[in-house]
C-alpha cells in the first residue's frame, strides 16, 4: 500500500511538471517554428487575370518579367511557405515557389510572352495584387477615347476607360455613341431585403417597382437605352451591379434605394454620390486624379500608368466624382420640385455599390421606409411614378449638358 502511495505522489509530481513546464516549452517551439505563409489565388475578370498574394507578415518583394513568366522575389530570412488554391486561367499556367540563394522566388508561368502586368501592394496585412493582361496588337477603337494617348491605347484599354478627364468624357458622350445607355439599379433583392418598414414594406420591393417605372419613363423618351441590374426579386452582389454598368458601357448609373433609420422622425429625400472613406492612400490617389486628369499622357510615366490602372479596378468612380455631383444636384432639384418631401439635400457617403462604376453614378434615397407615413407613401403607385418622373427629369437635364449644341 505504501508503495502505491509513493507511486501516486511521483505521478502527481510528474504530472505537475508536465502541466507547467511542458506547455511553455511547447509554446516556445510553436513561436520559433512559425514560417510565414504566402497565400496565392488567381481570378479572372473582364479580360484581366488577377494574381493575389497575401501573407500575415509584411514582405519585401521585387518583380521581374522574363519571356513567359513573372518572378516575384521575396527577401526573407525566416523561410516561406506557399499555399495556393487550385485555379484555371487562360493566361497563368502555374504558380510555384522556388528558393534561390538570396531569396524566395514565386514564379508565375504564363501561356504567352505577350502580356503586360501592373501591381499594387498593401501592408498590414500584406497584400500584393498583380494584374496580367494580354498584349493586344491592334488598337481597340471602341474602348479608346479620342483624347487619350494613341500610343498607349492598345496596351492599356482598361486604364484609359476611366481616367478620362471630365471634359473629354463629356465629348465622349456625344461623339462616340449615338445612343446613351442608362443603367438603373434597384437596391437589394432576394434574401437581402434592405430596410424594413413597421407595416411590413421591404426596401427591395419598393426599389424594384420604382426602377421599373423609371425604365418605362426613360424609354418613353425614345432617346436612351436602359438596362436594369435586376428585373426580379433576386440577389445581385454589389460589385456585380457596377460591373453590369461597365460591361454595358453605361453613360450613367442610378441606384434606387429607400432609406432606413433608428430615428422615428427621420423623413425626406436625398441624393448621394460617392465619398471615398478616404484612407491616406486613397486621398493621395484621388488627389492624383484631380491634379493630373487633364494631361495624363504628358506627365505620367509608364510605371505610374500601371499603378493607375489598378486604382481603377476598385475605385473607378473616383474619376467621375465631379460629374456625379452634378447629376446628383439635377436629380435632387427635381425630387424637391415634384415629391413634396423634406429636402435632405445632396450628400456623400462611401457606398459599396458606387465604387466600381466607371461613369457618373448616384444613389437616390427616395424616402424613409422606417417612417410610417413615408412607408405608406413609398408603397403607393402614384408616388413611385412621381419619383420616376423626377429622376428622369434630372437625368435628362444632366445629359443635355453634354449634348451637341
Amino acid at each position: 500500500m505504501d508503495k502505491f502511495f509513493r507511486g501516486l505522489i511521483i505521478i502527481v509530481v510528474g504530472l505537475w511538471i508536465i502541466g507547467n513546464v511542458f506547455p511553455s516549452f511547447l509554446l516556445a517551439q510553436k513561436v520559433k517554428k512559425s514560417v510565414p505563409t504566402v497565400r496565392v489565388s488567381v481570378g479572372e475578370e473582364n479580360g484581366v487575370t488577377r494574381l493575389r498574394i497575401t501573407s500575415e507578415v509584411n514582405l519585401n518583394y521585387s518583380l521581374k518579367k522574363s519571356s513567359n513568366s513573372l518572378e516575384i522575389s521575396f527577401k526573407t530570412s525566416s523561410g516561406l511557405k506557399l499555399e495556393k488554391r487550385t485555379f484555371s486561367s487562360r493566361l497563368i499556367k502555374s504558380v510555384d515557389l522556388a528558393k534561390s540563394p538570396e531569396a524566395y522566388l514565386l514564379v508565375a508561368k504564363t501561356a504567352t510572352e505577350s502580356f503586360t502586368f501592373s501591381y499594387s501592394a498593401r501592408k498590414n496585412p500584406f497584400e500584393l495584387i498583380i494584374d496580367f493582361k494580354l498584349k493586344e496588337e491592334k488598337k481597340v477603337p471602341a474602348e479608346s477615347p479620342s483624347s487619350s494617348a494613341p500610343g498607349k491605347a492598345g496596351s492599356q484599354p482598361v486604364a484609359l476607360q476611366t481616367p478620362t478627364p471630365t471634359e473629354a468624357s463629356g465629348q465622349n458622350l456625344t461623339t462616340k455613341k449615338s445612343v446613351k445607355t442608362i443603367v438603373i439599379d434597384a437596391g437589394h433583392g432576394g434574401i437581402e431585403t434592405g430596410a424594413k418598414g413597421n407595416f411590413g414594406a421591404l426596401e427591395k420591393d419598393i426599389t424594384l417597382a420604382i426602377a421599373r417605372k423609371l425604365k418605362e419613363e426613360i424609354e418613353g423618351g425614345l432617346k436612351y437605352r436602359v438596362v436594369l441590374t435586376r428585373e426580379a426579386d433576386v440577389v445581385v452582389p454589389l460589385d456585380r451591379r457596377a460591373a453590369i454598368a461597365n460591361n454595358n458601357k453605361a453613360d450613367v448609373f442610378i441606384s434606387i434605394h429607400a432609406n432606413g433609420s433608428r430615428r422615428v422622425n427621420a423623413r425626406g429625400s436625398e441624393t448621394y454620390f460617392l465619398s471615398l472613406n478616404a484612407t491616406d492612400e486613397e486621398a493621395r490617389r484621388l488627389a492624383y486624379f484631380e491634379n493630373n486628369s487633364g494631361e495624363l499622357e504628358n506627365r505620367v510615366t509608364e510605371k505610374d500608368f500601371d499603378d493607375l490602372k489598378l486604382i481603377l479596378w476598385d475605385m473607378a468612380q473616383s474619376a467621375y466624382l465631379k460629374q456625379s455631383s452634378q447629376l446628383a444636384e439635377f436629380v435632387q432639384t427635381e425630387l424637391n420640385e415634384l415629391l413634396n418631401t423634406k429636402n435632405r439635400g445632396i450628400k456623400q457617403a462611401p457606398f459599396k455599390v458606387l465604387t466600381g462604376a466607371a461613369c457618373p453614378a448616384i444613389l437616390v434615397e427616395v424616402a424613409f421606409i422606417t417612417n410610417p407615413e413615408e412607408e405608406k407613401m413609398l408603397q403607393s403607385e402614384e408616388f413611385q411614378s412621381k419619383v420616376a418622373e423626377a429622376v428622369y427629369q434630372g437625368l435628362s437635364k444632366f445629359l443635355q449638358l453634354y449634348e451637341k449644341p
Binding site: K30, N124, A195, G260, S261, R263, N265
Partner: protein, 193 residues
C-alpha cells in the same frame, strides 16, 4: 484483487495524463492568441475593490432624434490599456445613451475583439448581432459606422483609422449600403455643432 486494483490505477493514471494533455493543448493555444489580442472582459468587472480604480473621462457620440446628427455624451471608464479602453468605448456605445439620445448599434451586439495595429488602424470585431436590424438603410448604417469611428478617433490620439469586422471577418456592408472593406477616417461633419 491486487491485479484488479493495479489495472484500475493504470486506467486512472492514463485518464489523468490524457486530461492534462487536453488541458495543455487548450491552454497553450489560448495563451498564444491572447498575446495578439485584447483580453476579453478585462474592463470593468475584474477590478479589485481594495485598490482604487483610476477613471478617465471619455466622449461618446450618439444619434439625436431631433436633428439626425451625432451628439456628444460623457462617460467615465477605468484607465487601462489602449485596447481595453477602446473596447470600453464601443461597449458603452452599445449600452446606449443615458439621456434621450439614440444608440445606433443593435443592443444585442457584442464586442468580440479590439486590436490596434502599428499604423494606427483599430480593428473592431463585432458579433453577428450587429447585422440584425430593420433600420439598415443608408442613414441607419452611417449612424452605426460613424458613432463608432468618431468616438474612437476622438478619444484616442493613437487611433487614426477604424476598420469594422463582423465575426472576425471582413464584411462588405452591414445591410447593403456603406462599404466596410476600407478603414474609415473620422467624419466630424456628422457631429452637431
Amino acid at each position: 484483487m491486487k491485479t484488479k486494483k493495479k489495472k484500475l490505477t493504470i486506467f486512472l493514471v492514463l485518464l489523468i495524463v490524457l486530461l492534462v494533455l487536453v488541458l495543455v493543448f487548450f491552454f497553450g493555444n489560448r495563451k498564444e492568441k491572447i498575446k495578439h489580442l485584447s483580453r476579453p472582459g478585462g474592463t470593468v468587472q475584474t477590478a479589485k475593490p481594495a485598490k482604487e480604480i483610476q477613471m478617465k473621462k471619455i466622449t461618446l457620440f450618439f444619434l439625436s432624434e431631433n436633428d439626425g446628427l451625432l451628439h456628444p455624451e460623457e462617460r467615465e471608464i477605468p484607465v487601462s490599456s489602449l485596447n481595453d479602453e477602446a473596447r470600453a468605448v464601443v461597449e458603452e456605445l452599445i449600452k446606449g445613451s443615458k439621456s434621450t439620445l439614440i444608440s445606433s448599434i443593435p443592443e444585442s451586439t457584442r464586442v468580440r475583439q479590439v486590436f490596434v495595429t502599428d499604423d494606427g488602424t483599430i480593428y473592431v470585431d463585432l458579433s453577428r448581432n450587429v447585422l440584425e436590424a430593420n433600420f439598415y438603410g443608408s442613414s441607419g448604417e452611417m449612424a452605426v459606422v460613424y458613432s463608432i469611428v468618431n468616438s474612437l478617433a476622438y478619444n484616442f490620439k493613437a487611433i487614426k483609422k477604424v476598420s469594422l469586422l463582423v465575426e472576425g471577418n471582413e464584411k462588405e456592408t452591414l445591410g447593403g449600403h456603406i462599404d466596410l472593406s476600407r478603414p474609415f477616417l473620422p467624419d466630424y461633419s456628422l457631429v452637431a455643432r
